[in-house]
């Protein structure tokens, strides 16, 4: 079930919010949140929901054992269980990524499990695994106590606002919301505002940009002229941010409605002046996860290494980041690309960048990010060079135009998308932002955006019968 589906918006959401708000006690709400989250997940993944439920119970159990071992000062056992727990959480992730990656290996040739061609990677498993690992390691590090209440932990791990695309949330940041959710008219109103903003961003901007990027990237990269290649690449650069941040807006909004504070995931990443800064602003909960649970432990364990320790650790972490996104070669190389740049920035490149004009800092960073999306978006590595040749006008076989591809009409959306990547809201003085009439106007605008978004979503299944030329 997706947040932008009619099923979610007009059946699941109103029923869930209504029942959640009228339930009398915290424990009932906790139980109801768990049930609704299971239904939410099972709707799209009726088989994998059992795997997730099993992992939840396993993590609950392992968390308690780790906690008890720590309390009994039996750190060695706690550490061994922690390692087993991490492996048990990563194993399904790895196996399923392998099974669903047909470009890497045709696994069905080696296994007698029948046809795997229709097999798809289960929604949100990567987010679930990282959230679970974060919980278990935090218990091990004594940052939190293990959760004894299975419903509370299940509610946290399977929470429907964040199960499919995050944000990757630390248990300690939402435990108070789980124990005592604050639900009142203000939190519901603020949550709805954030949710609608995200919905409109996704439906009215990101999805249209997706049409452009899909069209351009589905073509033979040798057949593109520079105008089309840049148009498609810029559209994808904007789409991936707006789509993901819109989802996060909706997740945070839903969390707020249910009385939880989910963490922010983006902080206008495209205004960064370096790649290092970009990764502090992009998918922040994932970056924080890798910093807390991989980079810092690596730095500590390899503290005695004298040469290239930091650089190799950075590269390793970004390789893992690439792998997290997908097991394909393009994701691994995409991670490596960022690892190398950040390792260089940690040395001379960073020093040089700081010395040049800030406008050039922004421009260079943005260009590097945009080029990075080529590696991310194009799975086949042999298509990278032709695409870059297209970007620089070095291909001669240009058979398409923006008009023949029917993407010229989308340029105003690209402008709107670019504006949404800028922190314009921060420029507006707080006094004006807090003005009652301005806020009323903003609410009216949000309602209009909601209605337009609903109309666009509803038009999605319009299929007029036409026999092309017949």
């Amino acid at each position: 079930m997706h947040f932008t589906s009619q099923l979610f918006l007009f059946i699941f959401l109103p029923i869930t919010i209504f029942l959640y708000c009228i339930l009398p006690s915290k424990s009932w709400r906790s139980f109801f949140l768990l049930i609704s989250s299971i239904i939410f997940y099972a709707w799209g993944e009726p088989l994998f929901v059992f795997l997730l439920c099993f992992l939840v119970i396993l993590n609950w159990f392992l968390g308690i054992i780790i906690d008890r071992s720590i309390q009994k000062d039996n750190k060695k056992i706690a550490e061994q269980i922690k390692i087993i727990a991490v492996i048990l959480n990563l194993l399904p992730l790895l196996i399923l990524k392998l099974l669903t990656n047909r470009s890497l290996i045709n696994i069905s040739d080696y296994l007698t499990v029948g046809d795997l061609s229709s097999f798809t990677y289960p929604m949100g498993l990567s987010f679930f695994a990282f959230t679970s690992i974060s919980y278990l390691i935090d218990v091990y590090r004594k940052e939190i106590r293990a959760e004894n209440n299975l419903f509370d932990l299940s509610g946290f791990l399977l929470m429907f606002p964040k199960i499919s695309q995050g944000p990757i949330t630390k248990y300690k940041s939402v435990v108070s919301g789980i124990k005592k959710p604050v639900v009142n008219i203000d939190t519901i109103a603020n949550g709805l505002r954030r949710f609608i903003a995200g919905l409109a961003k996704k439906v009215m901007v990101a999805d249209y940009l997706g049409v452009v990027s899909s069209k351009v990237f589905s073509l033979d990269p040798n057949s593109l002229n520079p105008r089309i290649a840049w148009y498609g690449l810029i559209a994808f650069t904007l789409q991936i941010f707006l789509d993901f941040s819109a989802y996060t807006d909706m997740a945070i909004g839903l969390g707020c409605i249910l009385g939880f504070d989910l963490p922010e995931n983006f902080n206008f990443p495209y205004i960064s002046k370096s790649i290092t800064e970009f990764w502090r602003r992009w998918h922040m909960t994932l970056s924080n996860w890798f910093r807390s649970y991989l980079f810092i432990p690596l730095e500590i364990s390899r503290r005695k290494a004298k040469r290239f320790r930091l650089e190799t650790n950075i590269i390793f972490v970004f390789l893992a980041t690439g792998l997290w996104h997908g097991i394909g070669q393009n994701f691994i190389l995409w991670g490596l690309y960022y690892g190398v740049i950040i390792a260089l920035e940690a040395n001379f490149l960073g020093m040089w960048l700081k010395k040049i004009n800030p406008i050039f800092q922004h421009a260079i960073t943005l260009l590097l990010i945009t080029f990075g999306w080529v590696f991310f978006r194009i799975e086949k590595i042999r298509s990278w060079a032709p695409f870059f040749r297209s970007l620089f006008g070095l291909n001669n076989d240009n058979i398409h135009t923006l008009r023949s591809l029917r993407i010229l009409a989308y340029w105003p959306i690209l402008i709107i998308g670019a504006i949404l990547c800028l922190p314009i809201i921060n420029i507006i003085p707080t006094k004006i932002q807090n003005n009652l009439w301005i806020r009323v106007l903003t609410d009216c605008l949000l309602i209009i955006l909601l209605l337009v978004s609903i109309a666009i979503i509803s038009s999605g299944n319009f299929r007029a019968f036409l026999y092309a030329e017949f």
Partner: protein, 429 residues
């Protein structure tokens, strides 16, 4: 504080109302779901009556100890997503004001298109973001952009030429005729042809004519300027109009006369009338939902010699011409009057005219032919009309058709796909 609180209550109530309105609407229908969408020409998906009946029964069987059966019943229709898909599709299809909302969304998108093209001087703009359909700058006519001419097209044309050669070789006593309807997508007079690098611009037809066998008699309703298209085709539909169809009838008659000396005189086709009460919005308008003004639906007022029609073997009337002329026709916006008036696709239509002719015709065509096929058929004893759009051409053999139906002439009539482009129209010799 109070103002802010009130404001939040109002906002939450209003938004909640928006979210629950569909639930209220569906509840009010009491299971009487909409079953057909006229504009889309399709059946709508409805909510299943007892969506979770299998799960209920499955649970019962599990409790009773029939584990295998219980599991199968519980999971079978949800593990492959059938139930979920049906409910999701039903929500979409039964959504309140679905077509109105779609039109509204397309109007928002038209605003986007207008603003995007305001800085360009193109002759035409996209009519919608979801279709290939274009609209002339003055918003008076819908049409589709040019198609590409490339090696794959050449291969198809070569295939068809070879097929025509084989047809003639294997059936030397039969006269083969081809009547092509040049459509805007293959014409150099397409208003946006210059903006498309590989536009056909009449090249595919030229390529065909260059290599077609000399024995194949060919004629063409051509477009020699955009006005030709405007005169011969609907402004909101992909079909030709009655003027184009009648012009074609004259040309086909002349072509057939060459080998048919005692052909009956050409029919009097001067009385073209407008069907009162019909506001025609054709396929392009239906698909793009572009707010274009409807056009008149004209027809030929003619009394044909008496004839019988057999549709897929049964004697029936083809089309609903008589009902339409007596004012009995649907009034819904976007109704497909072309199909309603002239008739829908049939595997085989046989016209049997009460005349003195001893010749039979095989007409291989598409929906365009519906407008004038009975006029052509009036010059033959029997005319067999085969529309290959939904059939495999290879299931037919001209040799067999000739022997079964005593065919004398074979006419391919239609747009370029029918006459020289689509391999799907290459009938076995």
């Amino acid at each position: 504080m109070t103002k802010s609180y009130l404001k939040n209550i109002l906002l939450v109530s209003f938004i909640f109302l928006i979210f629950v309105l569909p639930l209220i609407y569906w509840g009010s229908l009491e299971g009487k779901w909409l079953s057909v969408s006229v504009i889309e020409g399709r059946k709508l998906v409805t909510f299943p009556k007892n969506p979770f009946q299998n799960q209920k029964t499955g649970l019962k069987r599990l409790v009773q100890g029939y584990y295998q059966e219980g599991f199968d019943l519980f999971f079978n229709n949800i593990k492959n997503g059938d139930l979920q898909n049906q409910i999701t599709d039903a929500i979409a299809d039964q959504f309140p004001l679905r077509i109105g909302l779609t039109e509204f969304a397309q109007n928002v998108e038209k605003g986007l298109i207008d603003s995007a093209f305001s800085i360009f001087t193109d002759n035409a703009l996209p009519a919608s973001l979801h279709t290939t359909i274009l609209v002339t700058r003055d918003k008076s006519r819908l049409f589709i952009p040019p198609t590409n001419f490339n090696d794959s097209r050449k291969e198809n044309i070569n295939y068809r030429i070879q097929n025509y050669i084989e047809l003639s070789k294997n059936n030397p006593d039969i006269n083969f005729y081809v009547f092509n309807i040049e459509t805007l997508r293959y014409s150099k007079f397409n208003p946006v042809a210059k903006l498309y690098i590989n536009a056909d611009n009449g090249r595919s037809l030229a390529y065909f004519l260059e290599s077609k066998p000399d024995t194949l008699r060919f004629n063409n309703l051509d477009i020699s300027n955009f006005q030709d298209h405007e005169v011969n085709f609907f402004k909101t539909d992909h079909h030709w109009n009655i003027h184009g169809a009648l012009k074609a009838y004259r040309m086909v008659y002349e072509m057939l006369s060459e080998n048919y000396e005692d052909i009956s005189p050409m029919l009097n086709i001067d009385r073209v009338k407008t069907l009162e009460g019909v506001s025609f919005l054709g396929s392009y308008a239906r698909e793009s939902l572009f707010p274009i003004s409807p056009e008149p639906f004209e027809y030929l007022d003619i009394q044909l010699p008496s004839f019988k029609t057999y549709l897929d073997g049964k004697q029936e009337t083809y089309g609903a011409r008589d009902q339409y002329l007596s004012g009995n026709f649907p009034k819904e916006k976007y109704y497909n009057y072309y199909e309603g008036f002239y008739g829908s696709w049939k595997k085989l239509i046989v016209y049997e005219f009460d005349n003195t002719s001893d010749r039979n015709l095989l007409l291989i065509s598409s929906s365009h032919a519906r407008m004038n096929q009975m006029l052509i058929a009036s010059h033959y004893k029997k005319t067999y009309v085969i529309d290959l759009r939904k059939q495999d051409a290879k299931t037919y053999s001209i040799k067999k058709l000739v022997s079964d139906y005593q065919i004398d002439d074979v006419l391919f009539m239609g747009q370029p796909e029918v006459t020289y482009l689509s391999t799907g129209y290459a009938v076995s010799p």
